[in-house]
């Protein structure tokens, strides 16, 4: 019997070869070029047009952030690939061993089923990282145009898509392990993906617990990273879900155990994961890595707000579908949650649209309560929220309170030169040629 590490090295080598032999992976790699190209070219074009020929116009600095203007759209191709291409690559790699009978041979080694699935997942993640070379090429092109790159912002967007890839791999591995046929696994995976979209839809309509659950769907998680907000609760929850997916896959791929035994282990794993996620939800640590501080009040305002020790109670009377509610959430409340982590913020409404609640005097009001004092406002902007909080907390607004670290933006009137040739021509041709060459060489 060889050493455990030698066997693991051989497993890595085998999974790498299996990845290279996977047509699904090569197709994903080829398609990534045009997918990224479309979003990169339209993003650079729009960014250039908004920047004008001679730089920015005053007051629209936020529109010229590469984070929202370039990175988010360019990397959005990864979101599409993670939903519709990566699952098939993962299912092929996991189901392939079961279909061909290789699993019955490999599982007779003393290595645990979890070790085997972890090696597979690691190799799939490597495959995913290789696929993300396409948007990284977009970053290089952007730099060649003279575009500004803020490393933390870029890393945040990249990390979001890496986590999303990990979640997709874990989900596909679970589906492949639970079902006998790859086609069934693909249907299960897509059903879960569509299910998370339904949760997002229900959250937009119903708010409440749906909204809290929706914060942990892959789409919402990626969106947070795309805004430059790195949230500890999301990272922990994603890590728990990835571990749960791989552990479930390991349980259902293990040979020689009864279905009842596997079901019992699965229930225990799901229960443990639920406890871990419930704990993760309470973790409030987050880091705003956006250069324009999109997720934070100004530093001076935040310092002042940190002196609030009583329970700040905010009740916003807006229905889930009321556009003012999303304005308030994205401009004010998410910043308030970060500045005053113990704030108790709740949206109140009787209907989902709020259309027939307009006659109620309270509708549209935002009440702020602290230590018996109450301030009512109807302003949904960041400044409105800040002013109301300062008023209820008896804080003094400093001079230039919100302008001390105002983001001026990075306009760039560039055209996407060479991007079309690279993404629509060179990338697909090179990846397709590599695929053919590698398949031919291994034959």
């Amino acid at each position: 019997m060889p050493s455990r590490s030698a066997a693991i090295v051989w497993l890595f080598a085998k999974e790498w070869r299996e990845l290279l032999a996977s047509r699904a992976w090569w197709v994903m790699l080829v398609v990534m070029g045009p997918l990224v190209g479309m979003s990169f070219i339209s993003a650079v074009t729009a960014y250039g047009e908004l920047s004008g020929a001679n730089g920015t116009a005053e007051g629209v600095g936020q529109a010229f952030s590469p984070l929202t203007g370039i990175w988010a759209p360019t990397f959005s191709a990864c979101e599409l690939a993670a939903a519709f291409l990566l699952p098939f690559v993962a299912i092929r790699l996991v189901s392939g061993d079961r279909q061909s009978g290789a699993m019955k041979i490999e599982m007779q080694h003393s290595l645990s089923s979890f070790t085997r699935i972890s090696v597979k997942a690691t190799m799939l993640m490597l495959g995913w990282l290789i696929a993300t070379a396409a948007p990284l090429l977009g970053v290089a092109l952007w730099a060649s145009y003279g575009g500004h790159i803020d490393a933390p912002e870029l890393l945040s967007v990249f990390a979001g898509h890496v986590l999303n890839g990990g979640l997709t791999i874990a989900l596909a591995a679970t589906a492949a392990a639970l079902t006998e046929h790859p086609a069934t696994a693909a249907i299960v995976t897509l059903t879960v993906t569509v299910g998370t979209w339904l949760i997002n839809f229900a959250a937009a309509v119903n708010g409440g617990w749906w909204e809290r659950a929706a914060a942990f769907t892959p789409t919402a998680m990626v969106a947070e990273f795309q805004r430059g907000l790195v949230r500890a609760d999301i990272i922990i929850a994603a890590a728990v879900l990835i571990f749960l997916g791989l552990a479930l896959a390991a349980v259902w791929l293990r040979i020689g155990s009864s279905v009842a035994q596997r079901a019992r282990t699965s229930v225990a794993l799901v229960a443990m994961a639920a406890v871990a996620i419930a704990g993760a939800v309470r973790v409030r640590a987050s880091w705003d890595v956006s250069e324009g501080r999109y997720n934070s009040f100004s530093r001076a305002d935040e310092v002042a707000m940190r002196t609030i020790h009583g329970e700040l109670k905010v009740r916003a009377h807006f229905a889930p579908e009321d556009p003012r509610r999303s304005d308030l959430e994205y401009r004010g409340m998410r910043k308030l949650r970060r500045a005053v982590p113990h704030a108790d913020i709740e949206y109140v409404s009787k209907t989902s649209t709020g259309l027939f609640e307009q006659t109620n005097d309270q509708y549209g009001e935002i009440s702020y309560e602290l230590d018996g004092r109450k301030v009512v406002s109807r302003i949904t902007t960041a400044e409105g929220v800040r002013d109301a909080v300062f008023a209820v907390a008896n804080l003094q607004l400093g001079p230039n309170s919100s302008e001390d670290d105002e983001f001026r933006g990075h306009p760039l009137a560039a055209t996407p030169r060479g991007a079309g040739a690279i993404f629509y021509g060179i990338w697909p041709v090179i990846t397709a040629a590599l695929a053919v060459f590698i398949q031919w060489r291994s034959a």
Partner: protein, 228 residues
């Protein structure tokens, strides 16, 4: 005794696939488990190999001493025979030189650069036997090792298998072709309807069958028919 199976029972819903199966495997022997299709041979091997859970009974063996080679599989179809052998050699830690010996014994040289998914049934069977033997486990349980092989290939493979028992390894083969079993096995276990109908060497089985039939029995085929 390298493996002792006692009272092994496996139920699929209301169907009892194995009913209190008991037998021993002795060191260095080639033991043939013979039975018609559906007699429970594969279920028995999968239970012993740890692939299937069983409902009752006991399997006593030295840990890590056995390897089960399933029938009808085509692992790593995109990889070449050469690479698969190197992989198994590294993954299971085969002794140096064993791979070359197996390539020669099972006439695999012309197949080395072919992908496993492109092999014929007989070629794949030979490659799989090499994989099973390369695991260097003391006991190899091979399910239908001669299925898909022509007469010449069967003889070659039987000879190769025998040669690997000379260094102390033990083979347990599930076979439904009685002529093949008679050619290669030292002892036999007759399985039918999930129960053991007889076990022993050819003379022992003939004696048992003659006694049951109260008539003269000539060979393994007749003994098998008389006992099952």
């Amino acid at each position: 005794m390298v493996i002792r199976i006692t009272g092994l029972t496996k139920q699929y819903g209301s169907i009892r696939a194995l009913d209190r199966v008991s037998f021993d495997v002795r060191p260095g022997e080639v033991l043939g488990v013979i039975g018609p299709n559906g007699s429970g041979k594969t279920t028995l091997f999968e239970c012993i190999g740890g692939v299937l859970p069983f409902d009752d009974g006991r399997i006593e063996s030295e840990s890590q001493s056995l390897f089960y080679l399933p029938d009808g599989i085509g692992p790593w179809p995109a990889q070449t025979v050469s690479w698969a052998l190197r992989y198994i050699e590294g993954y299971f830690g085969a002794p140096a030189g064993m791979r070359d010996a197996l390539i020669a014994a099972l006439s695999l040289e012309p197949l080395l650069n072919k992908r496993i998914g492109h092999l014929s049934k007989g070629q794949r069977k030979r490659a799989l036997l090499a994989i099973g033997l390369l695991t260097s486990r003391q006991v190899l349980f091979a399910d239908e090792p001669f299925d898909g092989l022509d007469l010449r290939q069967t003889r070659e493979v039987a000879q190769a298998l025998r040669s690997f028992t000379r260094d102390g390894r033990t083979l347990v083969l599930s076979i439904h072709q009685i002529a093949d079993a008679a050619r290669v096995c030292d002892r036999f276990v007759l399985l039918s309807g999930g129960t053991i109908r007889g076990a022993g060497t050819l003379p022992e089985l003939i004696a048992l069958a003659s006694e049951r039939q109260q008539a003269s029995i000539a060979g393994l085929e007749e003994a098998f028919l008389a006992l099952t």
